[in-house]
Assembly symmetry: C2
Homo-oligomer: 345 residues x 2
DNA sequence: TACTCTTGCTAAATCGTGTTAGTAAAACGT
DNA sequence: ACGTTTTACTAACACGATTTAGCAAGAGTA
């Protein structure tokens, strides 16, 4: 295990100063170095297997070239969400295209304050993307006020923090409307998560708006809250199926949660969509692979990740954002679980 | 946006030296500081919202406290694998428990040399975990020889690099044996990926060994290679179903790939397990949620991530590894897709 | 010859911390 | 009263790069 060589070693062996080595390797322009010297430095650098130390470089440039992706969930929960991988793919692509690295930080909600703020305050990263912001997040407002580069994945009202989000209200409305159009009058709801998450609250709102626009009463007893996981969906659906009269359809605001709900339905020996119609949310990759394939709202998961990373990198570079907030459109994907084809045939 | 304050600012305001500030904040023992001074420093530090700069700290300690997780796949492919999230959860847990951060680096196979070696050569990270090593990876051997801390997730023969792996051969053998026990004589195989990946080659080997132990001939025409994705499984199965006589059972060495294969089977109007029995591999979370639930080989995904991170952190700390390689056991999970309950009833 | 301009480089400051070696002042022992 | 130990700190170096300011030698010009 040879010791690492530094720019000083290269300089010494090439018979030049450290400054010259730096000029040559970074191709600084406006600086004249003779071709022979340049070549000699390059040769020696290769010969010594020289690689500039990233830490030292950060020190002097003030940039880490790292962006942090913060998930406000425990690792287990965070990674159980089938929606996440596609987002990561988008993030990763956008980041590496601009020379940034990606650091992933799942922070359980019960982690004390400072769990993720240290990431930015101690300069581990140049900026962060915060997924699933909560209404009650005080730390977030604080670091934003301190001038940190932050982009939210998901909306936070009453805060002028740049964000990328999907049209949760619109999507939920479309999903619910779809069930109404199919003739359902009694439609249950399982949210994706606790309503302290803005995405959750928005989907609930969309559901409600669709009902009211159709002159249907909003009935709180038909609503249960998910917790991002299939298991939560299973529990919620088990409860909802015991209500009489039983709802004839459900809007489940997360495909991942819907998977668990589907299990509960099967255990009750009910058929989808014949006995119970289902519409999900997210269009995770497996939604079209399960049986019955899930009617759902497609979100641009990849675009969400990509867009957030793009925006953050602009922010870090002090560029003016032409759009401080982006809301991506959703799309209804009709498959078997909602029973649409049964009605139309 | 106030300017960041440094230890020097704290020192000046508290009327002490920078050294004292460092001693107080790091609680260095063996150093005596009067209670009043200590308190004054702490107060001022809080008042100035002082947070030590991680980069400067790295500079002097020589440690980044970051571990890199390198995936030898394009981001799309890497994150399409349903097995990954659980691994990430394990990695993330183990890393953060020891004060490490996690950097994720998906490297497409066609990326030039140096795509991931720079990560360690330029000291962005203290060590890396390399997922899915390939037989033909030259860079890997090189950085290992240079003394880099590396742990493989997956085995690489003829290299004394520490690794954590699951018993792919044994698992594949068990899976195939299960189908043989159920009376199948003509069993097809779809691998998880290209056989240049060691995991792939090992699963193929296990399949073969089980066949031969039962006196069944290995027939290459019954074997197709997956590519980590459902789509690859779909294509492969479509081909395999056209063989006559059609195999009565398939071992698909990845649940993710199996999902696509299931689609192809359904499109052919065949029933699982009645017409075709299926055994998967990985036991990804959704395997028990789909219809029919998938008989599969459970891998300790979380443990794989956790174990790799643990091992790497020991390696970084120059500890002697009591076990330079760990092979985790697998478990057969019998569900409906293999038709086991049909036979036994 | 003397002055200026260009070429090709170098010296030294800087980033913010950790840490070793050392040093005054106070307390203690005899 | 004088040497020794303890207390409570500080000065200065190191980490490895980037970058600004400047300098010596040779070329060009009057």
């Amino acid at each position: 295990m040879a010791k690492r060589s530094t720019a000083r070693d290269v300089a010494k062996l090439a018979g030049v100063s450290r400054t010259t080595v730096s000029f040559v390797l970074n191709k600084v322009d406006g600086i004249r170095i003779s071709p022979e010297t340049r070549q000699r430095v390059l040769d020696i650098a290769r010969q010594l297997n020289y690689h500039p130390d990233a830490t030292a470089r950060r020190m002097v440039t003030g940039r880490t070239k790292v962006i942090g992706f913060v998930l406000r969930q425990s690792p287990d929960q965070a990674f159980a969400d089938h929606f996440l991988p596609q987002v990561l793919a988008g993030l990763s692509h956008a980041a590496s295209a601009q020379g940034y690295h990606l650091m992933i930080e799942p922070i359980p909600p019960d982690a004390g304050s400072g769990a993720y703020t240290r990431l930015i305050r101690e300069r581990h990263v140049d900026g962060i993307i915060l997924s699933g912001p909560r209404f009650d997040d005080q730390d977030l407002l604080r670091i934003h006020a301190e001038g940190a580069s932050v982009v939210l994945m998901g909306r936070l009202p009453n805060a002028d923090i740049p964000f990328v989000d999907v049209d949760n209200v619109g999507g939920a409305q479309t999903a619910t409307q779809h069930l109404i159009d199919l003739g359902h009058r009694r439609i249950g709801l399982i949210t994706n998560a606790d309503p302290a998450y803005t995405a959750s609250a928005d989907r609930l709102l969309g559901y409600r708006q669709a009902l009211e626009a159709a002159g249907l009463a909003f009935d709180p007893t038909l609503v249960r809250y998910g917790d991002f996981t299939p298991n939560g969906g299973n529990v919620a659906m088990t409860h909802l199926l015991q209500i009489t009269p039983r709802p004839t359809a459900f809007f489940i605001a997360s495909d991942t949660v819907a998977l668990g709900a589907l299990q509960a339905i099967r255990r009750s020996n009910l058929r989808v969509p014949d006995d119970v119609a289902l519409v999900g949310f997210d269009d995770v990759p497996l939604s079209e692979l399960i049986d019955p394939p899930l009617t759902t709202i497609r979100l641009p998961a990849y675009g969400l990740g990509w867009g957030a990373a793009e925006m953050l990198i602009r922010l870090i570079g002090k560029e003016e954002l032409q759009q401080p907030s982006v809301i991506l459109e959703t799309e209804l994907i009709v498959r078997k679980s909602s029973g649409a084809d049964l009605k139309s045939h």
